[in-house]
Symmetry: C2
Subunit: 216 residues, 2 copies
DNA sequence: ACATAAAGTGAGCATTTACTCATAATTGGT
DNA sequence: ACCAATTATGAGTAAATGCTCACTTTATGT
């Protein structure tokens, strides 16, 4: 609750191996505590306790509660980016058809969002983040959209009057649908594989069917 | 912060007109304060102050901070439901084509989500809500999906091997895409009308193009 | 005019939280 | 064995928050 984020840098950098282990334990504990209690109720004291270190130790390596959340989020951004590039590399090497490529894409994104759905939700939606983190997220997202566009461009069967618009919609669709599906495990009255198949069907139709332009 | 939600019912029901005005003022102030500060930092004292009533008055009509959020959310659910039925009625009377119908649907949903995007985001994502509210939301959502399915069924050009699955995907797509578009005003590097048109195009393609079944 | 119910007040309490700091323990190099 | 740097400790602090309650003011019916 308090808003005294005076310190911006940690007091110590982990130098010895001992302290690196401590930092990892804190981050692991933070994921567990945030997942169990949410951001607001996930207190730093609880995180320290769960990590098996004292509250003082926690504040040696993280200048604020917010810094912990930012660290977790940065890790997630890196993971996602890595995964996406892995997927593109795979597609280019294997020369899969558009349909399989989309299937891999959707399934992969769904898996990423399913890994720690609650944590991601908490970090992305519940946590009040500084502006620079929001911008980093936006940037990462735009890069991802471009990466997707770069791959889709390779398929000649794609018919689109404006590939940029189309790819924006594709990316947003996959992102928001998989996020939503993973975040609300209760809503899922259609099974996962069916869901992926249907989404792929929709994307295929959108990409390959020539629709007449809209009427006013 | 405190977790002493002992009282479940308000101490008073608004009887005279005077108190009804007060309750409205509190709810209005709550939307403003939540939009400006988020849920956690949107303190009850601030809400009361913004409403021009004392903190004591607030607690006469709302037993807890949570109750205020629930009241706002219930209002939103009602609004959305009303809007959806209005749309269906309009479509049935006017006998619009599928394309126009979808266009109206997407545009309408986008407008609903644009009305108070930040407030909705706060209520739905930041606010820790009791289980019964989550269930009410789920129920409302499923009803909405059924309503949409009921309308789509009327159009003979719709080709679908399983209308239930298709409508689930349609509904989730429109819901999550419009929500996302409205919630992140920065991401919008394609204009609103283009966005609506593209989404409609995608839905049309999905609904009317016959796609071969997926390969393993 | 009067009585009773309804509506409104706001200082303050109990609790919680993020964070500090003086001190102690551990480590590694010599 | 010794010392300085690194790492760890946890009781304590100041600030903030949700909420209560004893009390005052206003409206209504007769």
């Amino acid at each position: 609750m308090t808003a005294r984020k005076q310190r911006l840098n940690p007091r110590k950098q982990p130098i010895q191996n001992r302290s690196k282990v401590t930092v990892d334990a804190i981050l692991l504990a933070a994921t567990q505590v945030f997942e169990a209690h949410g951001y607001a109720a996930g207190t730093t004291n609880r995180i320290a306790s769960q990590a098996g270190v004292s509250i003082g130790t926690l504040y040696q390596y993280f200048p604020s509660k917010e810094a912990i959340a930012v660290a977790l989020l940065e890790r997630h951004i890196t993971d996602t980016d890595h995964r996406l590039h892995e997927w593109v590399g795979h597609m280019v090497v294997e020369r899969h058809g558009l349909c399989e490529a989309l299937h891999d894409y959707v399934a992969g994104m769904l898996e990423i969002h399913t890994r720690q759905p609650r944590l991601q939700h908490i970090l992305l939606e519940e946590t009040p983040l500084p502006e620079r983190v929001h911008q980093a997220l936006l940037e990462a997202e735009q890069n991802a959209a471009k990466t997707v566009a770069g791959l889709i461009r390779l398929y000649p069967e794609v018919r689109s009057s404006c590939l940029e618009h189309t790819c924006f919609v594709i990316f947003q669709t996959v992102e928001s649908l998989t996020h939503r599906y993973a975040a609300h495990p209760d809503d899922q009255f259609i099974p996962r594989t069916t869901f992926v198949d249907e989404v792929v069907k929709m994307l295929m139709a959108y990409l390959t069917c020539d629709m007449p332009s809209m009427a006013g």
